[in-house]
């Protein structure tokens, strides 16, 4: 007779015990533990009780004798949401692991994801942190595999699903889920006919561990058993660093999304089947027979046309415009995401970053990297007017987070290869869309205009999810500028290089265009004499004086304790 024995569940443990359970006995050493009391400075002001470790555990130790750093997120505190302190703990730890590996000291980074993404109460701090985390992971992958695990309970959602999508090796349990937009958010934004967030079976079938591994969006399925998980993590140390990680497999994923027809009632098993056929060499090319006209509207279109001088922009994917043009002495590639009312993905017709957009951005950026491999690295300008990411069931099923991770990866890779990357925010810069298109640049420029917004979620949704009225939310933004939507508040966080004023934003004259080109040129020249990471966002005057003080302090303390 076989008896089912109780396993050593990892899912049931809290974040600290999870980290302990995968490190060799007696080697666990926590940095910035609860008694360091580096808690969020932004929650108490909003009447929310903080936690002493801000919901993230950073532990050094050994895994089967090899040096490792485990980063573990506590899902029970604020849904594992990433705020300024918790985000800086993760980014700061990864930056130190990167330094160690650059100094030929091999340390393996392991991330245990259990998070809804950005902590809405600290909004733009979450976005900034997640961009810095992503940048560190892309840099690290050259030296050492970055291992992610989604054990399950919450899963990996929002901006942190993009982070997971950047890992060299992603492990999941059956209970684990990964997706850009959580089911509740999709139901809220797109309606219950798009997805019923109570339909557990449909959700796990689409975004659960088993499906994700079978559809090429995670590497390995593991049982919820601590010793087995530890072994799987240790095995992942052997990953071949010359193999292309998931977020750079642009071609295969483009075939996957090209294989989908708008009328398809797409089922999870169908996605697995197509993925397997693509792995075996089958190709699906973009349907060129459909209408290729570009919607001539919106600031993204206006400024793309103005800055490139292309009279009637055309593109293989009508919603992603790409063109090259000289700025000063620099060859420059401009990329803009624009509305496409004919898109076969109905959830991405208004300028949202969806599947096609994420992979197209990645493809255009990689093309520039490849073409300039041996010569002058052209500058890349992301023209940003993105209202949101696409909210849809089909989007999640086909791995929208991975499309976003591909765009993040491409921009970060270009920046680190020496391409000056600038983003020019001409309209909205919201959430996962902004993370994918704009947040990985060396310098961020923005129009000083009330139509320019930077945020993580629409006001009405953010109010509903944090259980406040829109008025209460507006009140909170006065105390925490990171929660505000306007560009001046975002500027106070120190991540903006410059605000551009005195031009007609909707209908620019030739002089206006010249002025913007000069600003872009100035930014590009500044980048050429600066470092290739995102550190300028933490060293600017606004960041040091007020905007990022906690982010800076966390990094200093981590360095001391390292």
């Amino acid at each position: 007779m076989t008896i089912n024995m109780l396993k050593h569940s990892l899912v049931e443990l809290d974040a600290r015990s999870r980290a302990e359970s995968i490190l060799d006995e007696g080697t666990f050493r926590e940095l910035l533990d609860p008694f360091a009391e580096l808690e969020s400075p932004h929650l108490e002001k909003q009447g929310i009780v903080p936690q002493s470790d801000d919901g993230v555990v950073i532990a050094k130790g050994r895994i089967n004798g090899e040096s490792a750093v485990v980063i573990s997120i506590e899902a029970s505190f604020q849904g594992g949401g990433i705020g300024e302190v918790s985000g800086a703990k993760i980014a700061g730890a990864l930056e130190l692991v990167l330094q160690d590996n650059r100094d030929n000291e091999r340390v393996y980074p392991v991330l245990l994801f259990d998070t809804g993404g950005v902590r809405l109460q600290e909004a733009n701090y979450g976005l900034l942190s997640i961009a810095e985390i992503g940048s560190a992971i892309v840099a690290l992958r050259k030296y050492v595999p970055v291992i992610g695990l989604v054990p399950g309970k919450i899963g990996a959602f929002g901006g942190m699903s993009i982070t997971a999508g950047l890992c060299t090796t992603l492990l999941m349990t059956r209970e684990g889920r990964i997706g850009l937009n959580g089911p509740e958010v999709i139901e809220q934004e797109a309606g219950i006919e798009e997805l019923d967030s109570q339909d557990r079976q449909r959700i796990w079938n689409a975004i659960g561990g088993e499906q994700r591994v079978a559809a090429g969006l995670a590497e390995r399925l593991v049982a919820d058993d601590s010793p087995a998980i530890k072994e799987a993590i240790h095995n992942a140390f052997e990953a071949d660093l010359h193999e292309n990680p998931r977020s750079t497999q642009v071609e295969q994923f483009c075939h996957l999304i090209n294989s989908v027809e708008p009328t398809d009632d797409l089922q999870p098993y169908e996605v697995r089947k197509r993925w397997n056929s693509i792995i075996e060499g089958e190709t699906f090319n973009y349907d060129r027979h459909r209408d290729q006209a570009v919607d001539a509207e919106g600031r993204g279109y206006t400024w793309f046309k103005a800055l490139t001088g292309i009279v009637s922009p055309k593109s293989e994917i009508p919603s992603v415009l790409c063109g090259d043009k000289q700025i000063g002495d620099s060859n420059t590639r401009f990329i803009s995401v624009v509305p496409d009312t004919h898109s076969k993905y109905p959830r991405a017709r208004n300028g949202e970053v969806g599947l096609e957009q994420g992979w197209a951005i990645a493809s255009y950026v990689h093309q520039a990297i490849e073409e300039d491999k041996d010569g002058e690295k052209r500058a890349i300008v992301a023209i940003v007017d993105v209202p949101s990411q696409a909210y849809g069931y089909r989007e999640e099923l086909l791995g929208l987070h991975q499309a976003c991770a591909a765009a993040v990866d491409a921009y970060a890779t270009a920046r680190m290869a020496g391409h000056p990357v600038v983003s020019l925010i001409v309209g909205n810069a919201i959430s996962g869309a902004f993370l994918s298109h704009g947040m990985q640049s060396n310098r961020v420029l923005a129009f000083d205009d009330e139509k320019v917004n930077v945020h993580v979620m629409s006001k009405s949704s953010a109010a509903r999810i944090t259980r406040r009225t829109v008025d209460e939310l507006e009140e909170a933004t006065k105390k925490v500028p990171a929660m505000a939507y306007d560009i001046k508040s975002f500027a106070s966080l120190g991540a903006l290089h410059d605000l551009i004023d005195g031009v007609n934003f909707d209908d620019p004259t030739r002089k206006d265009v010249e002025l913007v080109r000069e600003q872009l040129n100035e930014a590009i020249l500044d980048i050429k004499i600066s470092s290739r990471d995102l550190s300028s966002r933490l060293t600017s005057m606004q960041a040091v004086e007020q905007g990022r003080t906690a982010s800076i302090k966390v990094r200093e303390k981590l360095r001391e304790l390292w």
Binding site: D14, P34, F35, E37, G47, V49, P50, S52, S76, Q78
Partner: protein, 104 residues
């Protein structure tokens, strides 16, 4: 949110620091530091307003039964009196027996 402070006499000293719990729904986090003065001092931050009397009674009962000189911080997210007492007992146990939570 509300911050409450309490103080009770105490004589027995403790071995080490202890940290237990999480600021999650219906739960709380306790940070316990041994103290050399003959008091147990408790600072509570709670998301639920208006329960000062209840907190006073729960804490008084616990510290009457458990003599311990310490400085305690509690971050509460709506824990019931039963959960509060369990977490306090757990913190005391960790402080006396569990070496891995000793502050470096």
């Amino acid at each position: 949110m509300e911050t409450l402070t309490f103080e009770f006499p105490a004589t027995r000293t403790l071995n080490s620091y202890a940290h237990v719990g999480v600021v999650g729904s219906g739960d709380l986090e306790i940070l316990l530091e041994p103290s050399s003065v003959p008091f147990v001092r408790v600072a509570v931050r709670t998301g639920s307003q208006g329960f000062e009397k209840t907190w006073g009674e729960v804490l008084e009962r616990f510290f009457t039964l458990n003599d311990m000189a310490a400085t305690i911080k509690i971050n509460d997210f709506g824990a019931t009196p039963g959960v509060v007492s369990l977490r306090l007992a757990q913190a005391l146990e960790v402080s006396q027996n569990d070496n891995k939570h000793v502050k470096a």
